[in-house]
Symmetry: C3
Subunit: 636 residues, 3 copies
């Protein structure tokens, strides 16, 4: 079980290093990520390396049985690089060339950057490839940087040429006949820089795809330099709407999926979400929680201390879902710099602090765990597609309230609350092993993926599709002749109008007359409310299960082949969405609220008690408040 965090000894005098190592041992730390932002130390002048300090750090760690996840420092080139190669500095969509003074001020398409990054990776591989401390390579940090410079423009054009083959195909895919955008020469195509009015959605989407591939190429270049050392190579995935990285594709190129996780709101629910995503990206292979904050979470620009025990509970949520350990950013809180308040395993107050005490306690706990790999046989999946997410960030959509991530999170939350640990799946994946699939607001879908879903239902699966799904193809072009074009036969409906809502409206069980009343909670007598969105659904084979007050169908069900396809044409609140899942046959929670139970295929069960009370009857022994247990459940 990996335990540790980012370690930045270059920020401290060497005498502190010995305290560090002693404290690491006290905290049972066995892996530290070193060197993430050390380029200006390792290569203080172009071509002149200073590895002495890093040698001493790695030797010291090795001598204390602490392994190293050695980073290539390419996420932050040194000042000399920015000065020597100004064309490698990021350019915004407005044409502003950024300057040095923060981090990530580089362009992934700039040849000088690519060259310098490879040279650095080569130097590190050569010097440390056989170091006894070395356990993992950590390429770069949180890939996700945009650039709009001319290097990017050139690379984008090459990528487009490879993707589309010809300008005619691109013009068709991008619908360039709208607004006179038809290209007659590749050189006419730019990144989506600042323009007069709304940008072309297909161009925006292709640009995100390009950035994902371009950054992946950077990663792969370094990985291929490091791999001959025989040590696993990875990079830490960061998650967010602004990150143009398709983690499905990236997961195929790393030796283990590694994620950073910084919950901001309901941390238990968000940790479960992040861990289920990571587990799904890994598709059965190992993965690792590479970064989390030790002592605080970020909420609305405020750093809120984690309540006592949270640090351990959240780590266990990841481990229960297959993380090979729990890592933090960072070991020792920085004295200065832009993230000096970011917190650390050793806070500014030093080891005599609640945070370090909890860190040490967790380290002891993890050291006592035995290895466990097996994995989770999920019966429910949520469809998750970056391209659909990006497409739902297009300009010119009918409502600003359409929010893919919110829809996805509601679906995951509903499952988490009833004790179901779902997979995330890409629409094109083999999904035959699932019984139920949730499809929240999947705006974009290819015809091939639509066929995949159809086969799934045909063969007996249950599909639960939410509003604003399957409207466009991979080029953001409408599937015509009645929405949702790519799935209307499967769903047995046709839609010709959407009505955004600014106020919630009541829904009625079909045949009911208002006012509906809430009764036992999970039947359709529950009072349902539609929010932000509604659709004019016509039945073409499906039956209405719930209607708007006008009588128009709001929720429909269609028997198709051996299975059932549900359609939800509005946004429900959490209770309403839970009622829908119940109606669709999903089991309800067996554990009390706040108690998380995760079952593996080998019968191993992880139970985590997020409540402030002891909980009986879940694990062999009572679960203490905030505690957890791992045990084998033969009844599985």
């Amino acid at each position: 079980m990996r335990y540790g965090g980012d370690y930045n000894p270059e920020q401290w005098p060497e005498e502190v290093w010995h305290d560090d190592v002693a404290l690491m041992r006290e905290a049972s730390v066995n892996l530290v990520t070193v060197g993430v932002f050390s380029w200006s130390r390792l290569e203080p002048v172009e071509g002149e390396y200073d590895f002495g300090w890093l040698d001493r750090v790695l030797d010291l760690l090795a001598a204390n049985d602490i392994q190293v996840n050695l980073a290539t420092p390419t996420a932050s080139p040194p000042p000399w690089f920015s000065l020597a190669y100004p064309d490698a500095l990021t350019v915004t969509a407005d044409g502003v060339r950024l300057t040095h003074g923060s981090r990530d001020t580089y362009c992934v398409s700039a040849p000088p950057y690519r060259t310098a990054a490879k040279r650095m990776a080569t130097a590190l591989a050569g010097r440390y490839g056989e170091h006894p401390a070395l356990a993992m390579w950590h390429v770069h940090n949180e890939y996700g940087t945009w650039c709009h410079c001319d290097h990017v423009a050139g690379a984008f054009r090459e990528w487009l040429r490879r993707r589309h083959g010809s300008l005619d195909v691109l013009n068709e895919a991008w619908t360039t006949d709208f607004w006179s955008q038809r290209y007659s020469d590749w050189a006419q195509i730019s990144p989506p820089r600042k323009t007069q009015y709304l940008a072309n959605p297909a161009q925006l989407l292709d640009f995100r795809r390009f950035l994902s591939d371009e950054m992946l190429a950077c990663y792969v270049e370094q990985r291929d330099i490091l791999r001959p050392t025989g040590v696993p190579v990875t990079t830490n995935f960061v998650f967010g709407g602004w990150v143009p990285v398709d983690h499905w594709r990236w997961a195929e190129e790393v030796d283990l999926v590694a994620i950073d996780d910084y919950p901001s709101g309901n941390a238990e629910e968000e940790s479960a979400f992040a861990a289920d995503l990571a587990r799904s990206w890994a598709r059965g292979r190992p993965w690792l929680l590479m970064e989390q904050a030790a002592g605080v979470r970020y909420a609305g620009g405020r750093m809120i201390p984690k309540e006592p025990g949270a640090l351990a509970r959240h780590s266990m949520q990841h481990i229960a879902r297959g993380s090979q350990g729990a890592m933090f950013f960072q070991w020792r809180a920085s004295r200065g710099g832009a993230e000096q308040w970011h917190h650390g395993m050793v806070p500014h107050a030093g080891p005599n602090s609640r945070t370090f005490q909890e860190i040490s306690a967790l380290g002891r706990t993890l050291a006592g765990l035995s290895d466990h790999v097996p994995g989770i046989d999920a019966k429910v999946a949520i469809l998750w597609d970056y391209e659909a997410w990006w497409a739902l960030q297009s300009p010119g959509l009918p409502s600003p309230d359409l929010d893919y991530l919110k829809s996805i999170r509601q679906a995951h939350r509903a499952l988490w609350q009833r004790g179901i640990t779902p997979d995330f799946a890409h629409p094109s994946h083999d999904i035959s092993q699932y019984e139920t699939i949730l499809v929240p607001s999947l705006y974009l879908i290819t015809s091939k993926s639509a066929a995949n879903l159809t086969t799934f239902v045909q063969n007996g699966g249950t599909l639960i599709v939410s509003y604003f799904t399957a409207l466009t193809n991979e080029h953001c072009q409408i599937h015509l002749n009645g929405h949702p074009g790519a799935l209307r036969h499967l769903l047995g409906i046709s839609i010709d109008e959407f009505t955004p809502l600014t106020e919630p409206i009541p829904l009625l069980a079909s045949g009911e007359t208002p006012p509906p009343v809430r009764s036992s909670g999970t039947t359709w007598n529950a009072q349902l409310t539609g929010m932000i969105w509604s659709e004019n659904v016509r039945l073409v084979g499906a039956e209405a299960v719930v209607t708007y007050s006008s009588g128009t169908p709001a929720i429909t069900r269609n028997r198709y082949g051996a299975g059932t396809a549900w359609y939800l044409s509005t946004q429900l609140d959490d209770d309403g969405y839970a009622a829908l899942l119940t109606a669709a046959g999903l089991p309800v929670a067996s554990a009390p609220p706040g108690v998380e139970v995760i079952r593996h295929r080998d019968g191993t069960v992880y139970a985590i008690n997020h409540t402030k009370d002891a909980v009986h009857g879940i694990a062999p022994n009572p679960l203490p408040p905030g505690g957890f247990a791992i045990f084998n459940d033969p009844c599985r």
Copy 2:
């Protein structure tokens, strides 16, 4: 009666064209606007034209008796143009040169743009000037683009030289002795680019005047190329605070006024407003509703479907006010591109949709109408001046709540609600035919226009002037020695202080003691409330009719010559403003609320029922819910 919309066949395979024409005939479409954004299709490479497809489109339309409003596609130059002439791309006030990828990325002052636009107009005139389908020329699209580049700077200086004659005159007009802005060479003058702090209001105002004139010159260049074909030439006016176009001046240069109208809130009221503006700009000449949305309206970023029947009612509001028909953007909703959700007469769902059914029904209705031209003899006018609007967007005003358009719209709404169809008039126009003139917040007025208003009252007219009016001259310079400088003699008042309000305050009928009570609604017993603004009015001949609670006059009346000049020193709510109009002698509504009655000078009456109930007693037959009637009223 014109009926149709923008038709963009270039976005669709040719096999769809035949469906299009069949559906157009089904919908009684008789005019389509073709080619607005087709430049990259018509001239795919510089100097190489491809007219074949357009030939086929026009022949097909002609063969089906559908006329064409043929556009010059100059609102969106093709990518090759942007690449070849980067100096013709728009530059923002911040100095960002925009890139291709949306629409309208051109500079109207750039010589390469002007040349290319004229060449294109010449080619179209030559090829299609005698085509049997051709019924109208549509120059460009929605002129209104700002630019701050060096071409613009040069043209602005030339314009200033023509306007002001000498630098001394300009320095005086712009008050350049404030903040050391005195110019000693024309070359020192720039467009109002990004500067350190507040910009010079007179410079900002002149820059908007220049942009209006410069774009008008572009239009006129094309018009003069097209006119020899003998077909009427126009361009579609777009309305908004950001549009630097003075439609009074432009209306003189088009063969018919054409407007685009996209209501966002109360669509009935906004349609009446837009149509009354267009009718007024046309000054008795024909005009046309060139664009409206078929199925949706835009509200707060949301696309809200038009309720059943609205599409016809709103079209009739325009026709009742003299529009020669009803046109839409666009015929067939686009599959892709930035406005793919903008809706169309044929929506994505196809003809089997409510929208297309209503489009067809309206087409049949219009086809059954006989021609009618006469016109409306308005007795009430609202003063409307772009320069005053622009001036009220100056930096450094005493309150951010001063809003010309809101004041104008309240005045129009009050008249509309009482069944009065007003003209809009420019302050310099001959206004002798009116009985009453409303002057809402006309911040800027020339001395000559002030004299025009004075003569109007002298001769017996009623003038109703609202707060923050007549304070500055045509250079945004204060009319001195007591506000409102240019009208204080006419109004019989003098003001030395303004007090912006953050909370509403009660007003009192003169002599009254608080609390005032609402009684029969239209007398001064009505409870009046002042909002956002108040003024310290001293009486210099006028009498106080309503006061602030301090006793200071809030509303005054001045007998002047044979007429009366009212002054309102605060913002009233709608009820209060209506009470003011009543007090000033304007008749109240005779039709029920929601029933619009428009009378022409020949006795023709248009009655439109915006309510959900049948209405009796207005037209010879009952007006069905949402219905309308046209009849002759001999009592007129």
Copy 3:
């Protein structure tokens, strides 16, 4: 006693000048500031001067016994300058080079600007140094302009070299090992231009220090040209979070401190604050209120007329605190330009206006006052440090609610309300003369200043420190091993965690159980509420006086040497903060609310009645509503 305002005759025809002078005499004006924005008049073409008009203005003023505060017009170079020296135009952090068209479009580091400014100062000194009207030199206007251009970059590097001596020292001070920012050549350092993510707090802080010093050098250059004339030299200080000027340092270089004061909210309290700051900067030397608005105050973008009498009362607040008079911006309200609505001593309405009547009345009053200098022996000081303010504007702080100015203002308001006139003091000053010192949220403190405070308490002083104080050193680096690092021994506490609050929470007097009740108001029975912030305080010698509901200390008291050090770990409301001051032994107010009493060391008392009632028992005679009195109080 100085009385007058900015006089800009260049904006008016010469015939108006004679009216001006007559009105000035009527208003008892004896000093006017001339020429602040007159560069384009004085030097209409490079190197060609036109002093004729200014000669006539100064002669006319001299002839009427009105003295002149003659400005160097360097805050607004003329258009020809901007055209000739585009490299001297300001550049934003985004790289936008500003253009002419407002004011302050210059770069203080640009050699052409420095040269032109010195040349102008030399010309003015030569021509007017012995003019009989000349009473004062007014260099520039409201220094405070940022620039990020290459000239600035060069000057910043030179400044850094002088400050830090070597790159190693700078790298250590800036913690450049964080995020790989280590510099290996001075040329690699830039101003904090737009960068990818959070900027380096130490770089930002040093850049503000540099700007303050660089602008000071500009001022000193001009001052040294003007001083040989024997007339006092100053510049008007402007106050605001965006102004990178350290007035402590600047005050040492002016012959008298001069301030501009534009209250926006509670004008009485803000005037007292501004005047106490100015008085403190002057450190016993003369100072002057150089600018205030005559008729309006600015509140939320709105210009609100000053209520009757306010103009005099606010002026007296300054005079009571040592201002040598009361000056206004500006004499005559401008007809045009960006500040045409800014108001003036002679408003647009002319002398027949309330404002001018009050201006005249105040002039007569001041003319009747006899000279008075002595000064105030404050026993209470508030620590005030620009560097701490700037540091608390760093990116990446734990909460966006931390606001130095708000904390400072609450402390000052609490003292003002209880009739205490405090000094402001820099943390490094000799503070031995005070009995009590308030330290609101002083995020940054040097070890030396911390020692200064420790000695103060050791010797018997009372120190009242608020939350988020003394956390970092002069380089924004954390004082380690328990917060607040630099003062924890003095305060007898140690803190390891901060918790930002989004809702207020109740506090308890130590030992109390909830719910606390408000009783006599100044005892700890008062109901206290914590807001926006809380801290996890451990007692290391101090005692808890008030706790959070958890029992954790919220307010502590530590006996240290002969004195007492209080610590407040949260934000209190005004009542709560007042209760804390009472608990710490500060006397309560003796005058009624709204009556301001300021005592000088010679027994002179200024009493100002801000209420609408007559007040008895404060001055020898009753104070009329809005009135004031100056008298000698022998009991002092």
